[in-house]
Symmetry: C2
Subunit: 337 residues, 2 copies
């Protein structure tokens, strides 16, 4: 089979790889229906994170089950399945607390931007749709594999309550998904911090009530103007840079909460947080804990998280997908084998 391999900064190749097989009895192998490129893949593509050797890449997928190990009970050959960007057994003490991204027997995949994928812990990771979904639902189902659940996790970690004013830092696919999640959790006002017209449009479609284009101190002032001068009840930090983190702290009201899903690059001013009674929670999204609820909302067409995909390419053009996202000519690129 063929799949994407990253060789270094700016160098992703579509090349022949060994077909995945069942290794553990808890494994499944799926034939990919759709996959995509994640903002976090760009850390390596941009040379910010190292690439020590050619490495299969990608961690988002929907597909059809081709083969299952002897121990797999919850999915069967032919099922259309979606799974999270980390696998988990969904039975260990940590998973039972809902923190499936930190599963004691979890981990990452061997490159999902590929025609076939081995899924360890298939029973705890995959959820099958009832029957074959309509084609037009595929982008939203694929979004559940990471970006929609990661945005959801930001809002849950920020403890968004009905009526809250929520500000979202970051207008990438995750930030946009965090807007959708905040609206679903009952936020009264959702402020998208975005300076890109195309992304603002998706933000509005997801339910953002206000757009703030300014950043830094100007951005903070704009948020304060919208919140009686005190800042947002909740800020969702969906970028990961130190600047974004500081923006979140500055835009938050005393006693408020930051939901964070941007992988941290830099620290946080814990004294400013303490004296302002400002909290922070978040991390790698426990997709499996949210998957069934969000899948239901997608199947009932109550949410359409797939709107974050604004470009579709054949998987063989995966290098162009990286280029488009790196140059911001696309928000998120869907790839089909």
């Amino acid at each position: 089979m063929f799949g994407a391999v990253i060789y270094g900064a700016g160098d992703v190749r579509f090349e022949e790889r060994t077909d995945p097989t069942i290794i553990e009895p808890t494994d499944a192998v799926i034939r990919t229906v759709a996959t995509c490129v994640c903002g976090s893949d760009l850390w390596r593509y941009r040379g910010i994170a190292p690439v020590n050797k050619p490495t299969p890449i990608g961690h988002e997928y929907v597909g059809i089950v081709e083969e299952v190990g002897d121990a797999v009970k919850n999915v069967k050959v032919g099922d259309f399945v979606v799974g999270g960007f980390t696998y988990s057994d969904n039975t260990c003490p940590v998973c039972r607390k809902g923190a499936t991204a930190n599963c004691q027997h979890g981990g990452g995949y061997d490159g999902c931007q590929a025609e076939k994928i081995r899924i360890p812990q298939a029973d705890g990771t995959l959820v099958a749709t009832p029957g074959m979904p309509d084609d037009d639902l595929v982008p939203s189902l694929l979004a559940l594999s990471d970006v929609a659940c990661t945005g959801w996790h930001a809002a849950v970690s920020g403890h968004v309550q009905p009526g809250d004013t929520v500000a979202v830092v970051g207008d990438g696919a995750v930030g946009l998904s965090a807007i959708l999640a905040s609206v679903q959790l009952g936020a009264g006002r959702v402020i998208a911090m975005s300076r890109h017209a195309d992304r603002q449009k998706i933000a509005r479609a997801f339910g953002a009530t206000d757009i703030v284009e300014e950043r830094g101190e100007e951005g903070m002032k704009k948020i304060q103007e919208l919140t009686e001068g005190i800042g947002a009840d909740v800020v969702l930090e969906c970028v990961g840079t130190e600047g974004a983190r500081q923006q979140a702290v500055d835009c938050l009201r005393p006693g408020g909460m930051i939901g964070v899903v941007g992988v941290p690059h830099g620290g946080i001013d814990i004294e400013q947080m303490f004296w302002g009674n400002k909290g922070i929670q978040g991390g790698v999204a426990p997709v499996r804990a949210y998957l069934e609820q969000l899948l239901q909302l997608v199947l009932e067409r109550k949410i359409e998280p797939g709107k974050v995909f604004d470009l579709e390419l054949p998987l063989s053009q995966v290098a162009d997908a990286y280029k488009a996202m790196d140059e911001r000519t696309a928000t998120k690129v869907l790839l089909k084998p």
Copy 2:
């Protein structure tokens, strides 16, 4: 009148001070019924925080209203009152969110270890009891001024949910109060990290189900043994040192939450937090937001937060009170004029 003044490390004096008067129409002046020494006062007494000039000290009190400004409506001369260790108007946009410690018109007092105290923003700060309370309730009413509400804030900030396993780092009066709060909020198991027999006794009286005497890695292992190997759902950090903060992170399960009320001296490992999906919230306690609820519980004798006082001295012996707390011969000292 007489009151306590700190001159430097180890040097607290009981001396004559100017009688407080009404300065703003929103002020009240109270005659102190009881006051006490706080763990946070010890930072200066121990020379860790600087004392630049002789400074009146103390911030906890219950008393009888002696005089009110023209604008004061909620309390009247003769009322028995309790107020928080910071004053707040309880009407500004921040207070309306419940974050009264961060009130836009709030601040601290001019030394409450004194015979009389000026209370700015009396309407927003003070709560009167219905009639004169029984003498034996005074310690618990005084505890509401800081320590009981600070412990409560730790538990609220840690988002303690019914059934949770909560570990409390710090067995000072605040840590002990955090145990009481966790039990009241429905925690299923409350683990006190304490190595002092007298404090363990209070911890048990407040409802602690388990005591862990070990600290550091050994302490973490003991907590794990009690929690299926994963750590506590919530850890309440009631000390403020970097070691205590790290202890809290290490004893917390993935996806858990730290409630913090120890004034931070040192940073936090934000990467360890993120990858473990561990959150933190807290700060200076918004006493006014909790005061009415907790006052009711005290008056109904459903809680007895005053148990943290294990020594009572005349206010004139305030220097001995500091010495006793510094040397840990007392957990918390109550002072009566």
